[in-house]
Subunit: 349 residues, 2 copies
DNA sequence: GTGAAAGCGCTAACAG
DNA sequence: CTGTTAGCGCTTTCAC
């Protein structure tokens, strides 16, 4: 059985297949313990021995088995990032922040796409429970607050951008209410009386906050909230378009439209084009997230920028705190946003 | 040591922390082997015993440790997908294909973003070498053909969309030469004499093929290839814009521009807008990939569609063949593309 | 500075 | 049908 393995030619090993620590030890004429020490940079290995072992490792292309190592050390040095979809370019920059910070701490980042499906999400979360990864960062969960709180209590788990409403969990977010509040105020100051909002019914954390910001600003300006001006949809181009058509077909159509995503805003602008309305003049439109297309669209699209890279690094920081002590009190870190006015809200650039 | 663990209250276990198969066995008053059998749906377990074990598992929230299991079985049932960047919405649909097919075969998909960095890519490929995952699908590699061939020889590894030129590896692709050949012919038939191309210098497999298609069509129509009409760049909005400005500032500017990505096309159209050229009339523009924005841009953007979902499923099929026999001969599967003409090439819709 | 041996959590062969 | 046991590949005492 194993003797077969022991009879292999050295040459076999240079192919690097199925080599294990025992093979390395034998070839280097030392013990597995020593090989392990070399792999882990343990200083108390004689220079000669180390050289010899390193030579064999180099020559054979040996890579230690991750499972054996993790099983023993009880850590994988991997973290899982759960994102709802890849169709949104929004997550790209955040991931870069996550990866940069994770790397600093010696962790590798794995990404899982849940496609907004509970089953998928639970399957990936099992990677946390089965200790396949040391911790996880979630950018949106379909689970309920209780489930999330439980997970966060048991495992290093933090949320980013879209924490679960009512869950006890650390999170990195922006002040969504404030962002839309500012935008709505801007519109009111500009003289708009009929301000519409295209929101969603998926991402409750941000949506409720954003709708609140919208309503708060209206109330303060004594503009009565008009139910027919608040639409809910998926965050897609198509829905942005169709809902804008609905809005504009009302007897008293809006002169400004706030969209909770850039894709909705693009859809909205497409609709306005077709209706031969001048965007930024007849109707102001603003999106959310400052995805790269917004500054290249015609007209350029006003939007709200989130500090995406920093959201990513902050999420990792929060996770690291959990690694140190998973019972540390959960915190919500709020990062600053920026409202960017471009042509779609009548600005020169 | 372990006795401590054995003295824990049942109540502890309902929290699900650090439970292992031994604990379950003890609580269910049976052996670890039986618990293992239950976990793996082995039919030869008495109904009563199975019930008892399942009850404990349910109650305690026990999830078997992935490392222990994989270490023993020598398979993780996980596959790794390496993508160069998340900023391109292109990969989203492909991933869905990958996931659908992988799930069918009982595999879970992990995504790694290499950001076009060698170091990153190598780190993630180590997951293959360290047997952390059973196989990998790469959507672009910075490694050389020899390295890729070696990896493919040793591990289940396939490429998709952008295989490494000259590497011996299975791949799922479209006929990039043919696609651009068709487009160029379309332009020539329409009467264009000055046809420009904005290509890249990253994704050699597709770029060389596409440039060949462009040149082939020109040659056949006896149009001399003009070096100044072929630009190379990153696949970004900004570069599409600046290179188009360069192209249009020539003494004899093009009347049609072929872009190897939709973002380049959008950048190009932005530039033409600024130069007050009518896109689809003064100048035709076509992109590549049929990302969702193309049908919502103003004007709508002509483009070439790849069968993204199928590319994903096909890649998984190829990987499964490698799981069956990693020495099976490598094949290149070519899937059909579709040229879509919209307003940016003068079509009504 | 080094090696023998225990054991991380699991599965599978074997014995009963 | 069930339990005992070996061992997957690794790290880490503990002796020497």
């Amino acid at each position: 059985m194993n003797s077969l393995c022991y009879n292999r030619l050295v040459n076999d090993y240079t192919k690097g297949d199925k080599m294990n620590i025992k093979d390395v030890a034998r070839l280097a004429e030392t013990s597995v313990a020593t090989v392990s020490r070399v792999m882990n940079n343990d200083p108390k290995v004689a220079k000669v021995t180390r050289q010899k072992v390193l030579a064999i490792i180099e020559e054979s292309g040996y890579i230690p088995d991750a499972k054996g190592r993790s099983l023993r050390t009880q850590r994988s040095n991997k973290i899982l990032v759960l994102i709802p979809t890849m169709s949104n370019q929004f997550y790209s920059r955040i991931l870069q922040g996550v990866e940069a910070k994770a790397e600093e701490h010696g962790y590798q980042v794995l990404v899982a796409i849940t496609n907004l499906e509970v089953i998928q999400e639970e399957k990936y979360l099992d990677m946390l429970k089965s200790r396949h990864v040391d911790g996880a960062i979630s950018f949106f969960s379909t689970l309920d607050p209780h489930q999330i709180s439980e997970i966060a209590k048991k495992y290093p788990f933090v949320q980013c951008c879209e924490p679960t409403l009512g869950a006890d969990v650390s999170s990195a977010v922006i002040d969504n209410r404030e962002a839309i509040y500012e935008v709505t105020q801007d519109f009111i100051k500009k003289g708009h009386k009929r301000i519409a909002m295209i929101s969603g019914d998926y991402y409750r954390f941000s949506e409720e906050a954003r709708e609140k910001g919208y309503k708060d600003a209206l109330r303060e300006a004594n503009i009565k909230f008009d139910d027919s001006l608040l639409k809910k949809s998926f965050y897609r181009l198509k829905e942005g378009e169709s809902l804008t058509v609905e809005l504009m077909n009302q007897k008293n159509p809006p002169t400004a439209i706030i969209c909770v995503s850039d894709s909705l805003a693009i859809g909205s602008i497409t609709a306005l084009h077709k209706l031969e309305k001048k965007v930024g003049k007849d109707v102001d439109v603003i999106g959310f997230d400052n995805t790269s297309i917004t500054s290249f669209y015609y007209p350029t699209i006003s939007t709200i920028a989130q500090p995406r890279f920093d959201l990513g690094t902050t999420a990792v920081d929060l996770l690291m705190e959990k690694f140190n002590d998973n019972n540390s009190t959960n915190k919500k870190v709020i990062l600053p946003h920026t409202v960017i006015h471009r042509e779609s809200t009548g600005c020169a650039k």
